[in-house]
């Protein structure tokens, strides 16, 4: 636990113990405002040209849920998306749930106490290609690259945990906030949505610094493009006007979710040299094998035969750092998952790999093809996920997620 988290939890504890509530509330907010620049703010604004939860900092708790839409028609789909928008607006801002008196059960589950804290919650909604079938009259509105997720040669996909009409990504400071939001949204959309698959995840704390580590013990996300640099994001993540995509899609982004099992028992039986050569980085501090520090950039031109960083290492294949591959970079937003055990007692843990990009084929798919057959594939096994299109943002109080899409003839 970092100092930052420690202090925040301490203050929450003080508030819960009943030290003058008004004072405690104020105090609890102050460290949030004073936190380091990379820390997520306590309230992530819901409205904007783009949805939150894509380039906004990743807080530590997460759930990814894919749904199928069971609404009967286009009007039902519009109602559904308006309801999701309303709930997301409330949940991300926090506040007091509506009192319903004796006319209904309580409007809120109460798992976050009587007043819902924003807790850095973001709610990010994507649409899958199946939404553009004949049910809702949207077949002409499909983003041009959107399709059912490809099955790559190293995949072992379980159809029960693939695809979906909608994706919902929930991120917040704490798991109870994520689960509260999930319960709230599913409750308010009962009848119109059914969960297709779900995976909860968490972001590891920096150990001891830098990018968080995945279950293989390696830092993951070191080379991610700078999400705070708007120009880079415009070049890599956001779909712009006149991009060949439908007009409604401007401001959105292709979302790829891959549920990747990591065979950790097998991995732990591999020597450190072999582990590091498969990844291309040192395990202890995340430095590329030709560097000293995590922040050092690998210098592939000086190592053309891969004597130091093998040509088939993960980082070298994923991002060759050439001019030609610069626009193939993706914005990753991964979370570790831990899901109990296998039928043979092996630990079921891995990565919810999520990435956002402007062009599915130019970026994710090109990367994935380069990675085909990499040595790491013996230890990781993609088994689920899907391709989605993260909707453009909600720009004002009257706007709702998918309004532009549903306005499309």
């Amino acid at each position: 636990m970092s100092d930052r988290m420690g202090r925040r939890w301490f203050l929450r504890g003080a508030a819960a113990a009943g030290i003058g509530t008004a004072a405690a509330t104020t105090a609890a907010l102050r460290p949030g405002q004073a936190r380091a620049a990379d820390a997520p703010p306590r309230t992530v604004p819901f409205e904007g040209a783009h949805q939150a939860g894509i380039v906004t900092p990743a807080p530590k708790a997460h759930a990814t849920v894919a749904f199928d839409v069971t609404a009967n028609d286009r009007a039902g789909l519009a109602d559904l998306l308006r309801t999701v928008t309303d709930r997301a607006r409330f949940l991300t801002a926090g506040g007091d749930p509506a009192p319903l008196g004796i006319t209904a059960p309580p409007s809120d589950s109460g798992t976050l106490g009587p007043t819902v804290p924003a807790d850095a919650l973001s709610v990010t909604v994507g649409v899958g290609s199946s939404l553009f079938d004949d049910r809702f009259g949207l077949s002409g509105a499909r983003p041009r690259r959107l399709r059912a997720m490809d099955s790559f040669p190293d995949d072992d996909l379980d159809p029960a945990r693939c695809h979906g009409d909608l994706s919902l990504q929930l991120c917040a400071d704490a798991p109870d906030t994520v689960l509260h939001a999930l319960r709230d949204i599913t409750r308010h959309t009962r009848g119109a949505l059914q969960v297709r698959w779900r995976m909860d995840g968490y972001l590891a704390a920096p150990r001891p610094s830098g990018a968080p580590r995945n279950h293989l013990g390696f830092k993951d996300g070191t080379a991610n493009p700078d999400a705070s640099d708007a120009r880079t994001m415009d070049g890599l993540v956001w779909v712009a006007d006149n991009s060949g995509e439908p007009a409604w899609a401007t401001g959105g982004s292709y979302q790829v979710i891959r549920l990747i099992r990591m065979r950790v028992e097998f991995w732990d039986r591999v020597s450190i040299v072999e582990q590091e050569r498969m990844i291309g980085r040192r395990r202890d501090n995340g430095a590329p094998l030709d560097g000293d520090r995590e922040s050092d950039a690998p210098r592939y031109p000086l190592d053309p035969k891969g004597d130091v960083i093998p040509l088939d290492s993960h980082i070298r294949l994923a991002n060759p750092r050439t001019t030609a591959t610069a626009d193939q970079r993706i914005l990753r937003r991964g979370y570790n998952y831990d899901n109990g055990t296998d039928s043979n007692g092996n630990l079921d843990m891995g990565l919810i790999f999520t990435c956002f990009q402007q062009d599915l084929d130019r970026q994710f798919v090109a990367n994935q093809k380069r990675l085909a057959g990499e040595p790491l594939v013996d230890y990781v096994s993609p088994f689920g996920g899907g391709y989605f299109y993260a909707l453009p943002g909600v720009t004002n109080r009257q706007d709702w997620l998918g309004r532009g899409l549903l306005a499309h003839a």
């Binding site: 069971t70 007091d96 509506a98 008196g101 006319t103």
Partner: protein, 402 residues
């Protein structure tokens, strides 16, 4: 099947005994604290306006001196020596906007309400004493109020309960006849006929869900599962429809099933003979209006109660019919209190239509044979229905009105 243990007891207009004692004790212990906490709470950690309201001997709801509309909290303090219920009502219509139940002496509890323009009064219902209504407070302006409904009293639901009880009596006659046919098949050794007649008998029982709690232990004997039985399907206490189902679909001989068939018809016969003396609690009506289908979601749409017949979908349809029977008796009362009744009707029609869409002429496929899309449609329809029926249970929680 429906399991009575899932159902909760609620306070239905009768004095709470154990609860009152506990509250009185904790009230005494905390009296010092409570006096401090009862001081006017300014705008609290919830960010809402707070008003402290007093209840004392012969006085109900004093302290609301600056009425304003909007979402707000009344911190209700009971300064009397008896537990009380406190409602915020519209004194003209008696519609209830908010309630605090079982407010112990010396304690303070919040009532959060959305107040609109109009007139309001606090109504106190002390245990073992008559109700009293405090002074009317007029809130200026035309802001919309939060949802409200007139309280449902025991008297309001008694006619529907009696009518339902009579309907159950009629169903018992049919149930006894069909269980007799099943027993005849097994006695005769015709197991193919028994598998057919098992279903028709069982489905009658599955329409009677609002009465199971009144049946008492007989429900477990007639329709229990292996849950809670150490020996599972071989446990000596596993009897009734599901025990016979298990045998009929797992190669048991007629001779092995004969005692279970005899036991089933005997249990049903005993229940039927005792029914004229039974008295259903009116509280059951609203509660079961939602819990019958809650059980369908939990036990039928998951296949939990399938002991071989794969008849969960037929059971779900019988459960829906049983829910509709309960609702039909309450319909006028619901209409007077529940604005979303048309949406509830539509939701139940959707569930019914979805079941019809997977069944053909009353013959339903096994749950696992449904395509993913079909199953999602069915689950969504059932989930939508239980979400709405929960409101009926909330409104029909029996309350004192005088």
């Amino acid at each position: 099947m429906i399991r009575p243990r899932m159902f909760r007891d609620r306070v239905a207009g009768r004095p709470v005994v154990a609860g009152v004692l506990a509250l009185a004790l904790s009230g005494a212990a905390l009296a010092g604290c409570a006096a401090h906490r009862a001081a006017p709470a300014a705008d609290d950690a919830d960010g809402l306006p707070h008003t402290t309201v007093q209840v004392s001997l012969g006085r109900c709801g004093t302290g609301w001196s600056h009425p304003r509309s909007g979402v707000q909290v009344f911190d209700i303090h009971n300064a009397s020596d008896a537990p009380t219920e406190v409602d915020l009502i519209d004194p003209r219509t008696q519609a209830v906007y908010g309630e605090v139940e079982g407010l112990g002496p010396g304690t303070t509890r919040p009532m959060q309400v959305t107040v609109g323009g109009g007139s309001y009064a606090f109504k106190c219902l002390p245990d073992d004493a008559d109700a009293m209504t405090g002074g009317t407070v007029t809130v200026p302006g035309h802001a919309p109020a939060g949802p409200s409904a007139p309280a449902v009293s025991e008297q309001d639901v008694i006619p529907a309960t009696i009518a339902y009880q009579k309907w159950i009596g009629g169903r018992m006659t049919v149930l006894a006849a069909r269980a007799g046919v099943l027993k005849g098949d097994i006695d005769r050794g015709d197991l193919a006929a028994a598998r057919r007649d098992w279903l028709t008998a069982h489905l009658v029982y599955e329409t009677m869900g609002a009465a199971y709690d009144t049946f008492g232990a007989a429900d477990g004997e007639i329709n229990g599962t292996t849950a809670g039985l150490d020996g599972g399907v071989t446990d000596k206490d596993f009897t009734g429809f599901h025990r016979i189902e298990y045998g009929l679909w797992h190669g048991a001989s007629a001779a092995a099933l004969k005692p279970f068939a005899a036991r089933l018809t005997a249990d049903i016969g005993a229940l039927r003979r005792s029914w004229p003396q039974a008295r259903m609690d009116p509280l059951q009506m609203g509660l079961r209006a939602h819990e019958i289908l809650e059980n369908t979601v939990q036990f039928e749409l998951t296949g939990r109660t399938d002991y071989g017949s794969h008849s969960n979908l037929a059971t779900a349809a019988a459960n829906l019919a049983g829910t509709r029977e309960v609702l039909s008796g309450l319909r006028a009362q619901i209409a007077a209190r529940y604005r979303a009744l048309p949406q509830l009707d539509a939701s139940l029609a959707r569930l019914s239509g979805t079941l019809d869409g997977v069944g053909h002429g009353g013959h339903y496929p096994p749950l696992d044979d449904l395509s993913r899309t079909r199953r999602e449609q069915l689950d969504a329809a059932a989930d939508d229905a239980v979400e709405r029926l929960a409101d009926i249970a909330a409104i029909f929680d029996i309350r004192r009105t005088s």
